[in-house]
């Protein structure tokens, strides 16, 4: 960054103005005449449903979509900006941190921070002293106490996120864009991240934050711009008393969501799934117990929740039940409709009528290079085939049927799943498992990273499943969600089931105290 651009006029006029941005892909108008104005030193939130155009707008701003591929103009610090690459935008102090972190796991924190922007001496050699001292200073600014030489792979997601921010700071960032920064973080890490953002605001860094967590936006944003269907709807001043979460939701979905959870009258039948004395050990650290003698059951027509903090063993419990997909030295019994079943392999679990929709859609749930059709049929191929041969016409029909009934937004079912938005990917993942016609569905964080409108659709789908007599087990970090959709909730702490609460008598505070119960307390 050269000296001439480093000292723009402070304090007057917005730092960023995007005017009349229109971006068209073949057949789709992703953005249509979008206007965005961001003031100097504010935290500006952008809200919108999946596919509303938030990420596209940020890609236009950061030069991922080069100047000339969109209409409209961008004015940064009063001067027009026509970025052709990300490097162009970073040179003007615009840095974007994507939802999927882009750190190299085996390199140290310091190496990651200065990757591509190395502190050099004598031309091509790295000045390690300068690198590590500078990194330590940046880490202090984001509240990390780790040594700069720590490999990134040893850090949790929350700390990795902070390293990303430190990396942005090293580029002398003036406008920091965060895309869903807290989607993968627990409450404590999220809170810490928001604190850091507040501190950066005091230091004069302007922030654009894309988030689905409205509570978070209410807590941190100065102003919020709402985007719907590729258009700017309005910009709310969050200091105004009428800028409530409900107000934002109304703007995002274009209707008022009085109830965030669809109504359901539970019709509860016989027990479908019972897990007895389920114990699971860590896959690589023998002797470390991840799930400790867990007992639980789910009945037909019932939605049962599992609440627990990060590391409590929620996903470990679910994945070990689903075909021993996690852990070793697994003991205990799994019963479906009162009969003990083997779950040694995923295909046994599927045959027994168990389905597991993974928390991590991209890594564990879907084959992103394959199309919607093949992903929909991936787990239910036996249903589509005779003697090992797949009926492809039937497969296409099934995929179309599920696209319609689930309301998946895609031009057709031959589009690679990787090109869909998060909410629509989740609908494909659900389709895949509902098509296997399971008795019990285990949904691991079914609404993570998807917007309010799509969440409501997912809840409606859950209600439809239990209305059909299925049993549903939901794992979620969001207590209001569990309280909103479940009939019963188990709490999990350090691998042990610490409580079983009927939803009628459950409160967030009560659950939280069970979730934080110490072992042998």
């Amino acid at each position: 960054m050269s000296e001439s651009t480093a000292s723009p006029a402070e304090g007057d006029g917005p730092i960023l103005e995007m005017r009349g941005i229109t971006k068209t892909f073949p057949g789709v108008k992703a953005l249509s005449d979008v206007n965005l104005s961001v003031d100097r030193g504010e935290i500006h939130a952008i809200c919108g449903e999946n596919g509303a155009g938030k990420s596209t707008l940020m890609k236009v701003l950061s030069g991922v979509y080069p100047h000339g591929t969109y209409e409209g103009e961008i004015v940064l610090d009063g001067a027009p900006a026509s970025f052709r690459t990300i490097n162009d935008s970073e040179a003007r102090g615009v840095v974007i941190i994507h939802q999927e972190l882009a750190l190299v796991p085996y390199l140290s924190i310091a190496e990651n921070i200065f990757l591509g922007n190395e502190r050099r001496r004598a031309g091509e050699f790295i000045d390690w002293n300068r690198t590590n001292t500078a990194a330590a200073e940046l880490l202090a600014r984001v509240g990390l106490t780790e040594s700069p030489t720590t490999p990134v792979s040893t850090l949790g997601v929350g700390k990795q996120q902070l390293v990303e921010i430190a990396k942005a700071l090293s580029k002398e960032v003036r406008l920091l864009i965060l895309d869903e920064p807290t989607a993968a973080l627990n409450d404590q890490d999220s809170e810490h991240l928001l604190d850091i953002l507040r501190r950066l605001r005091e230091e004069g860094v302007t922030c654009i934050i894309i988030s689905h967590k409205l509570g978070e936006i209410a807590a941190i944003a100065d102003r919020t711009t709402i985007i719907r269907d590729g258009r700017t709807i309005e910009t709310l001043d969050m200091a105004e008393p009428e800028s409530t979460q409900d107000r934002i939701i109304r703007g995002m979905v274009g209707r008022s969501l009085d109830n965030r959870f669809p109504d359901r009258t539970p019709v509860i039948g016989e027990e479908v799934l019972r897990i007895e004395d389920w114990t699971v050990h860590h896959p690589t650290q023998p002797g470390r117990v991840m799930v400790d003698k867990a007992n639980l059951n789910v009945r037909a027509g019932e939605v049962v929740g599992i609440a627990g903090l990060m590391g409590a063993g929620r996903t470990e419990l679910a994945m070990s039940v689903f075909g021993h997909s996690y852990g070793r030295d697994i003991s205990g019994r799994v019963l479906v409709h009162g009969r003990e079943v083997s779950v040694k392999h995923v295909s046994n679990a599927i045959d027994a009528g168990i389905a597991y929709v993974s928390e991590d859609r991209k890594q564990l749930g879907l084959n992103l290079i394959e199309d919607v059709r093949r992903n929909t049929s991936a787990a239910g191929l036996p249903k589509l085939s005779r003697a090992g041969w797949v009926n492809e016409h039937e497969e296409l029909r099934v995929a179309e049927e599920y696209r319609e009934s689930m309301g998946t937004r895609t031009p057709n079912v031959l589009v690679p799943v990787g090109k869909l938005s998060g909410g629509n990917q989740q609908k494909v993942a659900l389709s895949k498992w509902i098509y296997t016609d399971p008795e019990v569905l285990i949904l691991d964080e079914p609404t993570r990273g998807i917007d309010v409108g799509a969440k409501y659709e997912i809840y409606t789908l859950i209600n439809k499943m239990v209305a059909d007599g299925k049993a549903v087990l939901v794992i979620s970090s969001e207590l209001p969600e569990l309280l909103g959709i479940c009939d019963r909730i188990y709490t999990l702490a350090a691998g042990r089931i610490t409580g079983e609460v009927d939803v009628a008598s459950a409160t967030q505070e009560g659950l939280m105290s069970l979730m934080t119960q110490e072992a042998d307390a």
Partner: protein, 394 residues
């Protein structure tokens, strides 16, 4: 939709999805022109089939290996070892030709079990397992053959790789049987396409206009029958072509329509997701290598039959030709993407270039340089093409 629009759509779609097929047509045209048509002469065409059939057979297995996210460096050595076993049984021990064939296939299957075990159940990367296999099976070939060539094979064995079906229904300057078999094949293709089109319609799927559909069939029929005519007026129908055609059809069906085929693509596309969808990953990986061993033994039989000998150095570098065929044909290095027809066209591109350059008297050294560059350019073009398509639809 208008006729012109329909045609334009078809062309742009096909250039994008099968740019490699167009490249093949261009390369054939270029060499046909440069060799004054000698490339497409009846004698040369049947030579081409005989000479490259074993690479194409290997490429079928290799494509499945690559789509599954693996690689197999050992197939050249396996070709040598299976050929050597056949030679020991038939030439040295004097058993009938079919015992030799069975022994070779059994050897290939055993090798498949061996490599499949290490890759699938022990979890060693295929690159390492098959690199070890490349050394191992070459060494065993030398041991079995005492470091010398074994020849000649008796007549029947030689027929597999060198023989022709000719004159069975009488010849009139052309072989009736060849034309008849090709005629039946073309008719079968037309009927199958028509039934597929009808099934699509009954499921309310989009199909191309009927005249376009008909034109496509007529074009394919014309090219195939012309090829048949060339063979019929030369030496007749090569037996190895029948083997190859049967394998291509069977494996295209398996990769496209069978559960096993789907599972291979699922594993290559996202291993963890496949596992969590109930795919028995170990078994599928094991079968991939078992199958590769089987096809390598077929290639070993064809090759030893054609060269009428088992040689210690047989099959060297075959693995690289087979791998190149797959990548030229659009397979992805990371797995999950690739088709049998693509790999076959990739193999044919290599074959036509080698053959064409030999006809032109180009030196072997230059041939290697050109083939290397073509591999690089073909994959480079493919990546560029995908990026362009991606930029338009992202």
């Amino acid at each position: 939709m208008t006729t012109i629009g329909n045609l334009k759509d078809l062309i742009t779609q096909n250039v994008r999805s099968s740019g490699i097929a167009f490249a093949f047509v261009v390369i054939v045209g270029m060499f046909a022109f440069m060799t004054d048509g000698r490339l497409l002469s009846p004698g040369n065409l049947s030579n081409l089939v005989l000479q490259y059939s074993y690479i194409l057979i290997l490429a079928i297995g290799m494509l499945i290996v690559i789509v599954g996210g693996h690689i197999d460096l050992s197939v050249g050595s396996v070709v040598a070892l299976t050929g050597a076993i056949a030679a020991v049984v038939v030439v040295r021990e004097g058993f009938p030709w079919w015992v030799g064939v069975l022994a070779a296939v059994a050897t290939g299957l055993l090798i498949g079990v061996w490599q499949g075990f290490w890759v699938a159940y022990v979890g060693i990367p295929a690159f390492i397992v098959t690199l070890a296999g490349m050394l191992l099976f070459r060494g065993l070939t030398l041991l079995v053959l005492d470091n010398m060539s074994l020849s000649p094979f008796p007549g029947e064995y030689g027929q597999i790789g060198r023989g022709f079906l000719n004159g069975l229904l009488g010849g009139y300057g052309y072989d009736t049987l060849t034309l008849l078999i090709f005629g039946i094949a073309v008719a079968g293709y037309a009927v199958a396409s028509y039934r597929n089109r009808r099934a699509k319609l009954s499921y309310n799927q989009d199909v191309e206009a009927i005249w376009l559909f008909a034109a496509k069939i007529v074009l394919v029929a014309a090219v195939v029958m012309w090829f048949a005519w060339q063979l019929a007026t030369s030496r007749g129908l090569p037996i190895v072509l029948i083997v190859l055609a049967a394998l291509i059809i069977a494996y295209t069906m398996i990769t496209k329509h069978s559960i096993f085929g789907r599972h291979v693509y699922a594993i290559g596309g996202n291993l963890a997701a496949a596992q969590l969808s109930g795919v028995r990953v170990k078994r599928v990986n094991f079968l991939i290598f078992l199958n590769m061993g089987f096809l390598a033994s077929i290639a070993g039989i064809v090759f030893s039959s054609r060269s009428n000998a088992a040689q210690p150095g047989a099959g060297e570098m075959f693995e690289l030709d087979a791998i190149a065929a797959c990548f030229i044909g659009g397979a992805a290095v990371t797995g999950g993407i690739g088709t049998i027809p693509g790999a076959m066209i990739g193999g044919l591109i290599m074959a036509v270039m080698s053959n064409g350059m030999s006809l032109l008297g180009v030196d072997q050294s230059v041939q290697q340089v050109v083939k290397g560059l073509v591999l690089l350019l073909a994959v480079g073009f493919d990546i560029w093409n995908k990026k362009r398509a991606g930029a338009r639809t992202a």
